[in-house]
Amino acid sequence: MIELENVAYSYGGDALLTDMSLQLAPGTFHFLTGPSGAGKTTFLKLCYGALKPTGGQVRLFGRDVTGLSRDAVAYTRRRIGVVHQDCQFLDHLPLSENVALPLTVSGQGSPDQSDNLRELMAWVGLVDKTDALPPELSGGERQRAALARALILSPDVILADEPTGNVDWEMSQRLLRLLVELNRMGKTVMIATHDLMLIRAAKAQVQARVLRIANRSLQLAGADL
């Protein structure tokens, strides 16, 4: 679904990432780790087409990103759910409309979807926050809302960038359980985190592979974690 072949990326000066190759197969669960500033976020951005590689080739669902038009990137993004550490919402709209936003912008917003939406809100435990505005939510609630928004179009891949960065341990466990559950439903999941505790906790629940960004390159971490 997401394939990288000798990918390099630089923000102008020296290359931040070089010679990365990866094939993200359907139904897999990956962690992406590495020290702060190593390029985890950049790597994820390459994976959902927000950045185009300065070297090598990124293929999303079989199509080379470099040749994609802006609209094609937008369409691709509807098949990839993204959750950020500092998730952004439309602060003037209630939570339910924010979660349904991908439906709205892709022209699929309709009353028929309200059952889906309610189910999803219940799954992430935000039913009683449906009418709240995003600034009224706590960090953990925002993360779960962002996850719900990433899932509403039923994407094939979920990319999460430090989803537990702003929440306490208990909440990060809860988020992890949701992501593991998604993986069991067949979704491909990739979580960027530097939280090794989280990775250990996950390994107990799911067969997860750990990728590490070190020395500007991507390595498969050993089983010693």
């Binding site: 950045l51 802006r70 937008a74 952004q88 439309l90 936003l101 912008v105 892709s106 917003g109 928004r149």
Partner: protein, 301 residues
């Protein structure tokens, strides 16, 4: 329906959800509406002014075309000879299209308002009038005067509307200035909308980033802004045009004496012209916002 381009149909179609993704912004809305109203008001005013100048130039121009009169005052027995001589001179003068001696009945009709119908005009020594129709280039009036002095001593050349010639030129120029002003107003409206749209796009950078993240196309994001600014400009321009029309209706019209100043009222089908102002303003806003949105969005990741 095929005649309406998709882009315009998208603006006309109300998509409540799409309208809501851009946060409402009270103050700039009022400024945009106010500015487009003011621009439309000015447009209507300048339009009326231009049309009035145009009418004036045309009316006066027509009068100029049959401008001059030759008056022959001479004892009755020489009248016929001098009239014939004058007509011969006029026929040979370059720049004179036609010259015609007025008949007795026509002359009597001209005099009647002054002397009343009962006066026996026949018995008075009435001068003979010759109507001269000029070509577009006109004739050399000094030369004609000298020649008439030599050959028809009783003739007096009366160019009563010649002084209007520069005024007609000025009126045409004023009309041109008016239309140029309307173009300037349209350009200023476009600039104003571009500034407002740029400000809105900058202020809503986070909204745009969120929309891009969840898979909105540039077209969708642009439409949300374009629709808003097009409709605002349209409603503002409609308001301004209505006020402008009301102001023109309040001008006193149809007065013979006032000439230019009192003829600002529109005439005939010209009353339809102000109706085109709001749609044209909306079109300008549509194009300006579209260009601004495309430019800003194209620069984003």
């Amino acid at each position: 329906m095929r005649l309406i381009p998709d882009a315009i149909r998208a603006v006309l179609r109300r998509d409540a959800a799409a309208d809501r993704v851009v946060p409402p912004s009270g103050f700039t809305v009022r400024l945009t509406v106010f500015t487009s109203a003011a621009m439309a008001f000015l447009t209507i005013f300048v339009m009326a002014f231009s049309l009035a100048s145009g009418r004036l130039a045309q009316d006066w121009g027509e009068e100029l075309a049959r401008a001059s009169t030759l008056r022959i005052s001479t004892p009755a027995e020489q009248m016929a000879g001098q009239t014939a001589a004058a007509l011969r001179v006029l026929e040979q003068t370059p720049g004179v299209a036609r010259a015609r001696a007025l008949s007795e009945a026509e002359q009597q009709a001209l005099l009647e308002p002054w002397f009343g119908p009962d006066l026996p005009v026949d018995s008075l020594p009435v001068p003979q009038l010759i109507e001269i129709v000029e070509t577009d280039d006109g004739y050399d009036s000094e030369g004609l005067r000298l020649r008439l002095q030599a050959e028809v001593p009783g003739a007096v050349l009366d160019e009563h509307t010649r002084w209007r010639r520069p005024l007609v030129a000025a009126a045409s120029r004023l009309r041109l200035l008016g239309w140029a002003s309307i173009l300037l107003i349209a350009a200023a409206t476009g600039a104003m909308v571009t500034l407002a749209a740029n400000a809105a796009l900058a202020a809503n950078a986070q909204v745009i980033a969120v929309l891009r993240l969840v898979g909105a196309t540039d077209g969708y994001i642009a439409r949300a802004f374009v629709r808003r600014y097009t409709l605002r400009t349209f409603s503002g321009a409609a308001l301004g045009a209505a006020l402008g029309l009301a102001a023109i209706l309040l001008m006193p019209g149809d007065s013979e004496a006032g000439g230019f100043l009192t003829s600002l009222r529109l005439q005939g089908w010209h009353w339809l012209l102000p109706l085109t102002v709001p749609p044209l303003a909306a079109l300008v806003a549509f194009l300006a916002t579209q260009a601004a949105a495309r430019r800003v969005l194209g620069a984003l990741a």
